[in-house]
């Protein structure tokens, strides 16, 4: 294929990337973000899949079978924990304006410049090979494509001098992209929306390209998965790829899974897209499943392509790393080959762009800037406007990193397969994991511990991976690998201290992470945190709790407002500084112009703004240079933190207490309402009772007076009056008896004579007792009382009282001559049910529930007002309920009412009846 076609298509593609990024930034500037859909976030995380995935996975599968998978299973597992780990990282970083992973680690351990610088050095040294790997992949795929239609061979003229090497120009273009879209803001904690949009687009392109070639191979060159695999299964040499490697396959699998789990959060570019570029915390929700789904999709065709490559190029003259491209070329599909090339290009460029942006931020904030500010002879610390310097450093860093990557590739990269280079970087990045992850969940980690862990991990990485790679490239004698340092067998870099059974990467992972974790933990336990470490540890670990942030207490002293504003302005520019302080004033409702001195809160605000631009560690140093007064001591910090946690606990307890109080108050209010109602009822009752008592009393008294005053009354009149007095006295007695009954019932002091008896005679007695009343009003009575009713268990006299009461009520409420009363008794399984029905006026529904309450009749409308005390029904209810039955009313206005009650049958009787039956 002609070089110019490939070059112009590549250029066109890169132009498209620039256009997307430009458009994305324009939209973001106008406040109409292009990447509001969380899918963009998930896709941008897929920058994890570099050209190493695109070409290298197939290469690895072709060589050693299934063990390309852990590189993708690890991140998928990590994302299952995303809700706890990633969300916390994002929250911490937003709260602290974290700009990079170096910043994150540095800030966690007391805003340590040393630690941040160390992380930066490790990242740059560790990641450079990875960047060069991308350039190598681009160069290699370019060469393969140029050789079209000779599949898998490099173009003969490809060993170009570097000024003709397209990889160099790709690298420079990528650098330009990073500079344009990655260093637009001074504030590195801000989002590069255009860059993210372009990266998301690249993730789509590489996925589509890979799926296209996979589908072509599986369904075009073969007749589907089953055909492809069954052909391979016939050849034991090919079928080897269906399984893990036979020797050391399982231990390598575990190590790779661990490594990939760490890499997905520790690689600087992953930290950049997952944490720094995160627009909204809620976007994580979608990424938690969408990113692993992406990984599944991009891995489905890896093995089929690898198998197909082995089938089509059995002589081994085609590098497995280029199978993805060589297969469409061999099948003479130039456009598919071009699409694959673009997919690989997008995978490589996406990685280079994000990685250089992340690394340049780290280099400028955590390495160069601190050094420059310290170097007094430069006079930089006194310079008015440092924004230009800051951006210049970042842009310079990008160019330097890209060129270093290229240099590495030219000098050393040719000797290695793609996958091995990538894994070397993974192991380096994984060294951040202990300090970072433990730092988020364990407050005890100290700065010294983190330093010790990082240094030992990095040293072991250097010894077991980096130096051997130099040896392989001929920079160090080969004996170093074979015989160990100074010829000591125990120091062989690939089997340190005699450890065997691992591949070099697994071996290095094991030793470096083991020593890293051990040093981190041991030194953390042996050293003490100073005040700011303690504060930062609490801020990171407790980021989700609502404890008051203790940082406001760190700066005791104050700074003058103008000094503070000038300082911030020097790093982020005058306009933006004024705007930031203005926003602060509005949010807190303070007037800055009246505030001569900045208080601790404002000083901390300024520090955070600065941290977004130059990193937490440098920001702290800069603020420290102008804030006067002293910082707090460790004892005070402990006290403050204790207080904070106590306050938190108190406030939780208070909240609980107040909720309990509210509930109690509510109950009290309800109880009080009931009491008031009862009180009113009692008053009503008393007035009714007194009225009821007074009526007979009055007549007794007046008739007695007549008798006393008129001794000459004739005998007939006298006996009439005496009869009235007797009757009224009886009425009075009855009333008082009822009252006493009720009182006793309620107090539970009544003497109950419980017995088993036949209820029939009781009902007959009651009917006989009320017969005069019924006859007096000429009421028609109908009874239905079976003769053989079962025995009930109750108090005979009380039961009679209830029946009489119901009967007399019925009589009272029916009209003379027209009245009808039905009395009916029935035995159910456990109860005797007796009902008294009348054709009186009936009881409205709203009163039916309440007529069994005492005193009720007082408030009843006149027409329902019973003649009597109104205590009858309440007494009935007390009695029936004491027996264990219930009493109720069924009524409808104008249709009469039915009072019924149940009394439990005698158990002994029931048993006897059952036995008899």
């Amino acid at each position: 294929m002609a070089g110019w076609i490939v070059i112009s298509v590549s250029l066109a593609y890169l132009c498209l990337l620039f256009a997307i990024a430009y458009y994305g930034d324009r939209r973001a500037d106008r406040g109409r973000s292009l990447i509001t859909n969380p899918a963009f976030y998930a896709l941008s995380i897929a920058v994890y899949c570099t050209s190493w995935t695109f070409y290298g996975s197939v290469g690895r599968a072709a060589v050693s079978g299934a063990d390309f998978l852990p590189i993708y299973l690890g991140p998928s597992l990590m994302f299952l924990l995303g809700w706890f780990v990633l969300r916390k990282m994002v929250r911490i970083s937003k709260a602290n304006r974290i700009t990079s992973i170096a910043d994150f680690v540095g800030a966690r351990y007391g805003k340590s410049q040393l630690l941040a610088g160390l992380v930066t050095v490790i990242a740059v040294v560790g990641i450079l090979p990875y960047i060069s790997l991308q350039l190598k992949a681009v160069s290699q795929s370019f060469g393969v494509l140029l050789a079209y239609p000779h599949a898998g061979q490099l173009h003969p003229a490809h060993a170009a001098p570097f000024h003709l090497d397209e990889a160099l120009y790709v690298a420079l273009l990528m650098g330009a992209f990073s500079i344009l879209f990655g260093t637009r803001h001074i504030d590195a904690s801000e989002h590069h929306q255009g860059m993210v949009a372009a990266i998301a687009f690249e993730s789509l392109v590489k996925l589509v390209a890979f799926l296209a070639v996979g589908a072509f191979v599986t369904f075009g060159l073969f007749a589907g998965f089953a055909d492809l695999f069954s052909k391979a299964a016939a050849d034991p040499e090919l079928a080897r790829r269906f399984t893990l490697a036979e020797s050391g396959g399982t231990s390598a699998w575990i190590m790779l899974t661990l490594l990939a789990m760490a890499a997905i959060v520790c690689l600087p570019r992953q930290f950049q897209v997952i944490v720094v570029e995160n627009l909204h915390e809620r976007d994580l929700r979608k990424a938690i499943w969408l990113f692993p789904a992406y990984l599944i999709a991009i891995n489905i065709f890896v093995l089929p392509i690898a198998i197909a490559g082995l089938v089509f190029f059995p002589q081994g003259n085609v590098t497995p790393d280029t199978f993805v491209l060589a297969l469409p070329i061999a099948a003479e599909k130039p456009w598919l080959a071009l699409l694959v090339f673009l997919g690989g290009l997008s995978a490589a460029t996406g990685m280079v762009i994000v990685e250089t942006i992340a690394l340049s931020t780290m280099v400028s904030n955590d390495l160069v800037m601190p050094l420059l500010l310290r170097a007094r002879w430069l006079g930089l610390a006194g310079r008015e406007d440092l924004t230009g310097v800051l951006l210049g450093i970042r842009r310079g860093a990008i160019v330097v990193i890209v060129l270093l990557g290229y240099l590495y590739f030219r000098l050393i990269g040719e000797s290695y397969a793609l996958v091995t280079i990538g894994l070397v970087s993974f192991v380096a990045a994984a060294q951040f994991a202990p300090a970072m992850l433990a730092g988020m969940f364990w407050k005890g980690g100290t700065r010294a511990g983190a330093l010790a862990g990082l240094i030992s991990g990095f040293a072991l990485w250097t010894y077991t991976l980096l130096l051997p790679s130099f040896a392989r490239s001929g920079w160090l004698p080969q004996e170093f690998i074979e015989q160990g340092l100074f010829g000591l067998g125990l120091l062989k870099p690939y089997s340190l201290f005699g450890l065997t059974g691992f591949d070099p990467v697994g071996h290095a992972t094991f030793w470096s992470l083991l020593m890293n974790v051990a040093a981190y933990t041991a030194v953390s336990m042996l050293t003490r945190q100073n005040a700011i470490e303690r504060i930062q540890a609490a801020r990171f670990v407790d980021v989700f709790s609502q404890a008051p942030a203790p940082d406001a207490a760190f700066w005791r002293g104050t700074a003058t407002l103008s000094e503070l504003r000038d300082l911030v302005a020097r790093f982020i520019g005058h306009d933006r500084a004024v705007q930031a302080f203005g926003d602060y004033a509005r949010a807190r409702g303070v007037d800055l112009d009246r505030l001569g001195h900045a208080d601790a809160d404002l000083v901390n605000f300024a520090e955070r703004v600065l941290a977004g631009a130059i990193g937490a560690a440098s920001a702290r140093v800069m603020i420290g240079s102008i804030a006067t007064g002293e910082t707090v001591s460790i004892d005070e910090v402990m006290r403050i933190l204790d207080e904070a946690s106590q306050i938190l606990q108190y406030s939780r307890e208070l909240e609980l207490k107040s909720q309990q109080l509210e509930a109690a108050t509510r109950e009290l209010r309800e109880a009080n309402l009931r009491l008031q109602e009862l009180d009113r009822l009692k008053d009503d009752f008393l007035s009714t009772i007194s009225h009821e008592l007074r009526t007979p009393l009055t007549s007794i008294r007046s008739f007695s007076e007549i008798l006393v005053d008129n001794p000459a009354l004739d005998a007939a009149q006298r006996s009439d009056f005496l009869a009235i007095i007797t009757r009224e006295a009886e009425r009075l007695t009855r009333l008082i008896n009822q009252l006493l009954d009720l009182a006793k019932l309620e107090a539970g002091r009544l003497d109950w004579q419980m017995a088993d008896f036949d209820p029939g005679p009781v009902v007959q007695d009651a009917l006989a007792a009320t017969q005069p009343l019924i006859a007096e009003k000429s009421i028609w009575l109908e009874t239905d009382i079976p003769r053989d009713l079962p025995y009930v268990r109750a108090d005979k006299d009380r039961l009679t009282q209830v029946v009489i009461n119901l009967l007399s009520n019925a009589v009272k409420f029916t009209e003379p001559h027209k009245g009808r009363i039905w009395v009916r008794a029935r035995a159910t399984e456990d109860f005797l049910e007796l009902s008294v029905r009348d054709n009186g006026p009936g009881i409205p529904a709203e009163w039916q529930d309440r007529i069994f309450e005492k005193f009720l009749q007082v408030r009843a409308p006149e027409e329902y007002k019973p003649q009597g005390t109104g205590l009858g029904l309440p007494i009935c209810r007390q009695i029936i309920e004491f027996f264990g039955g219930r009493i109720w009313v069924e009524s409808e206005r104008g249709r009469g009412s039915l009072f019924a009650f149940t009394v439990p049958l005698s158990r002994a009787m029931t048993r006897r009846m059952v036995e008899a039956a």
Partner: protein
């Protein structure tokens, strides 16, 4: 009063216990993808034309992702903390909110 003793317990537990399902999923994944279990499938046998190891890994993987999506969909909607920080110079919220 029993009810009033821990009035906000249900509200506090709800999201927490749902999110804890992620830990369950992670443990399932961690067990399913390490050698003891994995080596049960480490064979050249084809099942339905697919190497059994790949069939196993991709099936479990897909199931885990689907379950993760289910758990996510059941999490309560996120409130607050979410003011976009794209305009980074905007006033910071007081720390206690975050």
């Amino acid at each position: 009063m029993q009810k009033a003793t821990f009035p906000n317990r249900p509200a506090m537990r709800g999201p927490g216990s749902r999110a804890e399902r992620f830990i369950g999923l992670f443990l399932i994944g961690a067990v399913a993808f390490v050698p003891p279990i994995l080596s049960l499938f480490n064979s050249r046998v084809l099942l339905g034309g697919i190497p059994i190891l790949y069939l196993y890994v991709f099936t479990v993987w897909t199931v885990l992702v689907v379950l993760a999506a289910l758990v996510v969909s059941q999490l309560p909607a996120e409130r607050a903390h979410d003011t976009p920080t794209s305009n980074g110079s905007a006033a910071e919220r007081p720390e206690t909110e975050s």
